[in-house]
Subunit: 209 residues, 2 copies
DNA sequence: ATTACTTTGTAACTTTTGATACATTAGCTA
DNA sequence: TAGCTAATGTATCAAAAGTTACAAAGTAAT
């Protein structure tokens, strides 16, 4: 585990901190589609993402969800931190977008290190700041853009996260993430195809450049 | 100034910290309508709100804005902290909702205290967490609610912030805050009035309960 | 009071999005 | 290959929101 930490976080954390992390935390593998955190869960460990990608979703009161953002290697989930520190239930759902690995850190250690390691403090703050930025981005999308633009952005994000121009998903899945209906997505995808931006295949979408 | 700090923050910060704050920071009065921070500003001081209320807005690329949330006595602006720490331009605009007072703290002090005072650390984290929650709330509004509900929530928030059932504003102002058009707001307000939720007057709205 | 300006009301129309219903097609399995 | 299911295409209609245009009512200034 120390090896993994060194390669992923070696340039951020000092050796002492990495030793401490390795000592108290657990490594967990996950598989695409795993629900890592669900709405309402009590969080007692803070996850550090080592490998893979996770998507963070917000739930509607009555059935429905919305993709907030993706997190990648080197990120952590600030929303989760928020819950840890506030001792409240999770406000979000985290679903594995790809296979990957996380390191789980007990909350009390996380707080201890805040006073002890400047690098840890910086990392935690940077995470918060990044998450705030992604939330702002989500708000921009919702408030200022039409569904066709939101869809295009979604496809681009998804392509980046998966390091591929081929997006392997169904219209229905996209509709869930964007909190709209399948028909709307099909309609807009067809329009994007006609506009020469993408090519549609069964259960996959090809991003053209 | 120490007096003010004691009454507003005395139950959060230890005396030593309050002394330090009083030593290095500036007190600033503001008037309703003042633009305290504008989009693109470089932030070098972190504001602590002592009195009054401030509204935080997000700007659209091409003309237009959206109210994100209000902050009140005892709050600070996490978005601003984000900017301070990241040394980047402000992503938001802060406009005085009422008259009030803020204390401005130099950024480098803010960082120094993070290592030194646990109460400061807790405060800063709580602020981040609150702001994340408000952002989530903004997202819920945008993603899951129709304009009529958003409008009603807006009126309720505004009433709370101003401690009055009389909301002194114009339809156009509301339209700016909710990023829609005046006609839409007039239409929905009229519907709310017909539904017995509010009473409309010139340049003011009365919330009925 | 007359004028000018701000604020609100309302009608008519368009665009965007959502909902329902059903047809078609690809891929899988027996 | 026949049949099933998941995924997609498409038409039609309805609701929500945005746009334009103009009238009416209140306020302030001269």
């Amino acid at each position: 585990m120390k090896e993994l930490l060194k390669t992923t976080y070696g340039f951020i954390f000092e050796d002492n901190l990495i030793d401490e992390i390795a000592e108290v935390s657990l490594l967990r593998d996950f598989t695409e589609g795993d629900v890592l955190i669900d709405f309402g869960d009590y969080i007692k460990k803070m996850p550090l993402l080592i490998e893979g990608a996770i998507k963070i979703l917000r739930e509607d009161f009555d059935e429905g969800e919305l993709l907030l953002y993706f997190i990648e290697k080197g990120d952590t989930c600030a929303m989760t931190m928020a819950c840890c520190m506030g001792e409240t239930k999770s406000e979000i759902r985290a679903v594995a977008e790809t296979n990957g690995k996380v390191i789980m850190i007990p909350v009390h250690k996380m707080e201890e290190w805040l006073g002890k390691y400047k690098s840890w403090r910086n990392y935690v703050f940077n995470s918060y700041n990044n998450r705030l930025k992604e939330m702002l981005n989500a708000i921009d999308n919702l408030a200022f853009m039409n569904m066709d633009e939101r869809l295009m952005n979604y496809l681009i994000d998804k392509s980046k996260i998966n390091h591929s121009k081929e997006i392997h998903t169904t219209h229905q899945e996209i509709a869930y993430d964007l909190h709209t209906s399948r028909v709307v997505i099909s309609r807009l995808l067809k329009a994007l195809e006609n506009g020469g931006k993408i090519r549609l295949h069964r259960a996959s979408i090809e991003l053209l450049k």
